[in-house]
Symmetry: C2
Subunit: 237 residues, 2 copies
């Protein structure tokens, strides 16, 4: 082992290598990648440090705690929404187009980060009414303005906001769960035969297992989203 005093490379660098210098954003991104690869449960400060060629404690220079690290990862992932060119913070073609784009943008986000998404959905927000999956004051403001500008009353806009959030959480959470089967805190290497289903006493289940496993999520998402928009539209009168 090399002593800490002597640098591997002769230049001034601390530990001779092309290590690009630590900073908070780099840590958060590495964290998101790590979670996507190994699951939240596997993410420890030590392991994330190792991923960045750095000791665990060095991370604490930029991240106050593991909890804050997870919050930061969630935030940085949700912030990707701002750079989605298909999603407008300011409505351009009416509220329905706005909601459609927002919903699809979030679905894309969930599909891109299936392991992180449950965190987006379940981490406490800054205020109880800043709901997942938007999680940011700016989006809530944007949403409410889009709706009130379109003629919704304040009450209706707020109700629409809650209905929209619930819709997204339910659909996307179950969709990513079906994807990885590892939603939430577990990381089971083997499917564990005791958890394998025994369908002997459930004839209808047996018959419909094919249909149940079939992935029609995109169509169903769109259909349900359409129904939601219709429902909101009918309140506009």
């Amino acid at each position: 082992m090399a002593e800490s005093g002597t640098s591997v490379s002769p230049d001034g660098d601390h530990s001779g290598g092309d290590r690009p210098r630590l900073d908070r954003q780099r840590i958060l991104e590495a964290g998101a990648v790590f979670i996507e690869e190994h699951g939240v449960r596997q993410l420890s400060m030590r392991r994330l440090g190792a991923e960045l060629d750095v000791e665990a404690m060095s991370l604490y220079r930029y991240v106050p705690s593991r909890e804050d690290l997870l919050d930061g990862i969630v935030e940085s992932v949700v912030d990707e929404l701002y750079s989605d060119p298909e999603v407008y913070v300011e409505p351009r073609h009416g509220w329905q187009d706005y909601l459609l784009r927002l919903a699809h943008g979030l679905r894309r986000l969930a599909m891109k980060h299936p392991q992180v998404f449950p965190l987006i959905a379940t981490r406490p927000a800054e205020a109880p009414w800043v709901r997942p999956p938007l999680r940011s004051l700016r989006w809530v403001e944007s949403f409410l303005r889009a709706m009130t500008n379109a003629g919704f009353s304040n009450e209706q806009a707020v109700e629409a906001y809650r209905a929209f959030s619930s819709f997204l959480i339910g659909n996307l959470l179950l969709e990513v769960a079906a994807l990885g089967a590892d939603i939430g805190p577990v990381e089971d290497p083997e499917p564990s035969p005791s958890r394998r289903a025994d369908l002997t006493n459930y004839p209808l289940l047996q018959e419909l297992q094919g249909l149940l496993s079939e992935d029609r999520s995109k169509q169903e998402f769109d259909a349900a989203l359409d129904a939601l928009l219709d429902r909101l539209d009918s309140q506009l009168t």
Copy 2:
């Protein structure tokens, strides 16, 4: 400290007391209570053991691991649904009544166990298509039979099942989140001023904060549930 060899009470009991004997169900129930009182994050084998006047390792006689303990708690909580007299496993007054009762039963369950419910929602299921919050083959079978008996095609029944699950997860998860603000793995003793919202740049938010915090969850749940049932009904033709 008393030696381990000498019993406190003279009778044959291992540690002289009226400790009612350990068994798996007792552990699971104590776990559910503990989570409701202190949150999932605080639940450790040692602390749960202490709650039952027992060493941590004694629990392993009945529960293979902490993960399995959580699964067991979830399962035992969900099983309460069977003893809800308002909910019928076999439909009695048509599919709409069946779904209404089921949805309301689950909502009651969520309200009764707001801390456990996120686990119900996010723990991996025995098969990817056994969705939360039902989580049991028996309920899925019951659901599908109710729908197909009512005239839904197999495809429609499966689609209804997914729509219904998504609806419940979304609504109930956000509802319990608003309740405890401690959904998921965090346990923050203090609201931490850095996480307190600053509404300066969000005028509409400021104006609507009252409405946003207002609790109309029951009405909104019922309204959305009604819309869902209507949507399903319209597919019956």
